[in-house]
Symmetry: C2
Subunit: 339 residues, 2 copies
DNA sequence: ATGAAAGCGCTAACAA
DNA sequence: TTGTTAGCGCTTTCAT
C-alpha cells in the first residue's frame, strides 16, 4: 500500500503538503502542486479512507435506509437508490445501504460508530418510530416522504396532494363529473404511509373544488379483489367515467377487468395513473399518468444533505411538483345526452 | 463521544483489556469481563469504525455493485440487495452500495482506499470488463452470475441451464411435443448476459434429449412486439402447445395476446415462466413457474465472502438448483386425435 | 490474566 | 509558502 508518506518522499515535500495539495485547503505554489500531483499519479496513490475519516472526523459516507416491505413500488425505490448513489458520488461521497428492519437501532449504530456523516431515510411513515431518533441525532438527515411531526427535520417528496388534485383537474377538464380513486391496499393506509394519505386528500379536495363526485376506495392486488372493487364501484356509481389509480401492481389486471366488464378505455372510462412512466407506457392503451420523479427526489435529498454538511441551510420541506403526461387512456367525456 | 479510554478508566482496566473483551481474542477473567461489559453499557460505548478499521486493516464493509441497466428485472435485484444486506449484518458487516456505471474504476477506488474488505458484483456479463480487474484485486469477491472466463473467481447463480431444462421436462411430462422459449429482448442476448444464454442452452438441450421440438425467440417489451412474435410463432409452428417465458415484463401482455388470438391457457397452450413467485401468482391463471431464488443467492454470496475473509475456501461456482412450482397455466396436452 | 505503548495513515494546528 | 508534529481511537505486539 502506498501512503501519503511515500508520496511526500517521492515529491520531496512534507506529508502535510501532500495533504493540502489533495484537499486544496491551503495555497500551494504551482510548482510544488505539480510535483506532488505527478508523484501521486506515478505511485498510484489513494488516500486510505479510514485514516482520513479518523483524522478528519468525516467518513464521506451517507447512509441510505431503504424499506423492506410490501406495498411499495420497487422499481421506483430502485430509482431513488441509484439517484442517491449517483448524486452522492458527484459530491465525492459513498453510500452505505441499510434496510429498515434494523429500525431505530440501526440508525444509532451507524451514527455512533461514525460510519456515516449523514442519512437519507426512505419511505417515512406518518408516525414513524425513527423520527424522534433522527431528530436527536447529532448528524444531518433527510427524509424521503414525510411524517406527521416534521419539526426540525428536512423532508423531500413528491407533492402527492397536488398529484391527486392534478388527476382530478385533468379528468374534470375533460368533462368527467363522477370520479373514483383506486388506491393502495388498505394495509398501506393503515400503516399510515404518508403518500397514500396525501394523494387521497388532494383527490378529495380537488373534487369538492371542481364540484365533481369523488369517491375513494383501497384495492388489494389480487385479480378477484380488483374485479370485486370495480364492480362495486360501478354498481354504486353507474355514471362513473373517470378513474384514478395509485397502485401499480393492479394496473394490468384493472385494464383486464374493465375490458371484461365491457368498459372501453378511454371511450367509456378515462383512466389516470400515478406511477412510473415505463409502466404507463407499457399498457394498452398507454396510460395518462402522473410520474413519480424518483431521480429528482433522490438527487434533491443528497443535495440537501451535502449543503447541510457544509453548514448551509435548506428548506424544511421540499415538495416536488407533479407533472401529468396525457396518453391514450383519458379522453373527453362522451356526452350521453347526444348518444 | 465515548472512547475506549473512557471505558477503560470507568472499569479500572487498560484499554487493551477493553479491546480484548470486545473482540474475544484473548482470555479474560470472568470478573474483569463482567466489569468491562458493565462499563460499556453504562457509558453507551460504540467503537469508532474508522479507528478500528485503521488499526485492524478491516473495515467490516462489503461492496455491493448493482447494475443500472434496462432488461434486468428490478424486483429481483432488490431481493438480492436486501438479502445481501441482511446476511452481511448477520456477520457484523455493512454494505456499501456502488452502481455499475462507475465501472472497473469504481471497484479499484473502493478497494484501494480500503473502504471495503470484499465485493459482491451483480449482473456479471459473459465478457465483463470488470472481470479481469476483479481477478487482480487483492481482495475477495463473489460474482452473481458468471462470465465466460471464470477461472480464479467465485460465482453464485441460479442454475439457469437446469431451469431451462426443468421447464422443458415439465411440459414434456405433460405430453407437449412442440415448445417455444420466449426470451429476453435481443439486446440482453447481445450484451451476452449469462443467464439468458444459459437458459436457452438448457432449453435446447432438454428439447433434444426429450425428442420434442424446441424453438427459441427473443421478445421485446412492447405489446405489438409480443403480438407479432407470438403470431409468427404460431404461423411457423401450428402445433405449438407449450410456451416457456423468461421475460417478466411481457407476461401480462402475453396472456392478453394469447386470449386475443383465441388460445386458452392452459387448455390450448401451456405456459411456464421463469420469474419471481409474486409475479406468477398475480396472473390469471396463476403461472407455473421456476422461481429465481434471489434471497438464497444473495445469502450464499455473502456467506462465501465471509468464509473467504476468514481464510476459508469456497467452491468456485455455486449453482443453486431451480425449483418449479406447478400452478394453473400448465396442463396435460389435449390429444387432438381424440378431439 | 493484564498492562504499556507502538503504530495504523491521515489531517490540521502550530511554527517558521 | 512549506515543514513539524500532535493527535484521531483503536488493535496488537511485547512485557510482565
Amino acid at each position: 500500500m502506498v501512503t501519503i508518506a511515500d508520496v511526500a518522499r517521492h515529491a520531496g515535500v512534507a506529508t502535510s503538503t501532500v495533504s493540502y495539495v489533495l484537499s486544496g485547503k491551503r495555497t500551494i505554489s504551482p510548482d510544488t502542486r505539480e510535483r506532488v500531483q505527478r508523484s501521486v499519479r506515478a505511485l498510484g496513490y489513494r488516500p486510505n479512507a479510514s485514516a482520513r475519516a479518523l483524522a478528519s472526523q468525516r467518513s464521506n459516507v451517507l447512509a441510505l435506509v431503504i424499506p423492506l416491505r410490501t406495498g411499495m413500488h420497487v422499481p421506483v425505490m430502485m430509482q431513488f437508490a441509484t439517484a442517491v448513489v449517483t448524486t452522492a458520488r458527484r459530491f465525492d461521497h459513498d453510500v452505505l445501504l441499510l434496510t429498515a428492519d434494523e429500525g431505530p437501532d440501526g440508525l444509532e449504530r451507524v451514527v455512533q460508530s461514525s460510519l456515516v456523516d449523514a442519512l437519507v431515510v426512505m419511505d417515512v411513515e406518518l408516525h414513524d418510530e425513527r423520527v424522534p431518533v433522527l431528530r436527536e441525532l447529532p448528524m444531518p438527515s433527510v427524509l424521503i416522504g414525510y411524517p406527521e411531526e416534521a419539526d426540525g427535520l428536512t423532508c423531500v417528496d413528491l407533492d402527492f396532494v397536488a398529484a391527486g388534485a392534478l388527476c382530478v383537474d385533468h379528468l374534470a377538464d375533460l368533462g368527467h363529473r363522477s370520479l373514483a380513486l383506486l388506491g393502495t391496499p388498505s394495509a398501506v393506509y393503515e400503516r399510515q404511509t404518508g403518500f397514500a394519505q396525501r394523494t387521497l386528500t388532494g383527490f378529495a379536495e380537488a373534487a369538492v373544488r371542481r364540484g365533481v363526485l369523488g369517491v375513494e376506495t383501497p384495492c388489494e392486488h389480487t385479480f378477484d379483489a380488483i374485479l370485486h372493487t370495480v364492480e362495486q364501484l360501478l354498481r354504486d356509481h353507474p355514471d362513473l367515467t373517470g378513474l384514478v389509480v395509485q397502485n401499480e401492481p393492479i394496473i394490468g389486471p384493472l385494464l383486464d377487468v374493465l375490458r371484461r366488464l365491457g368498459r372501453r378505455v378511454p371511450e367509456d372510462m378515462s383512466l389516470v395513473a400515478i406511477c412510473a412512466d415505463d409502466v404507463a407506457e407499457r399498457q394498452v392503451p398507454q396510460l395518462s399518468s402522473v410520474t413519480i420523479p424518483a431521480e429528482r427526489i433522490g438527487e434533491q435529498a443528497v443535495e440537501s444533505l451535502i449543503t447541510k454538511l457544509a453548514g448551509g441551510s435548506v428548506p424544511d420541506l421540499a415538495l416536488l411538483p407533479p407533472a401529468l403526461t396525457a396518453r391514450g387512456s383519458s379522453a373527453p367525456h362522451a356526452d350521453r345526452t347526444t348518444a
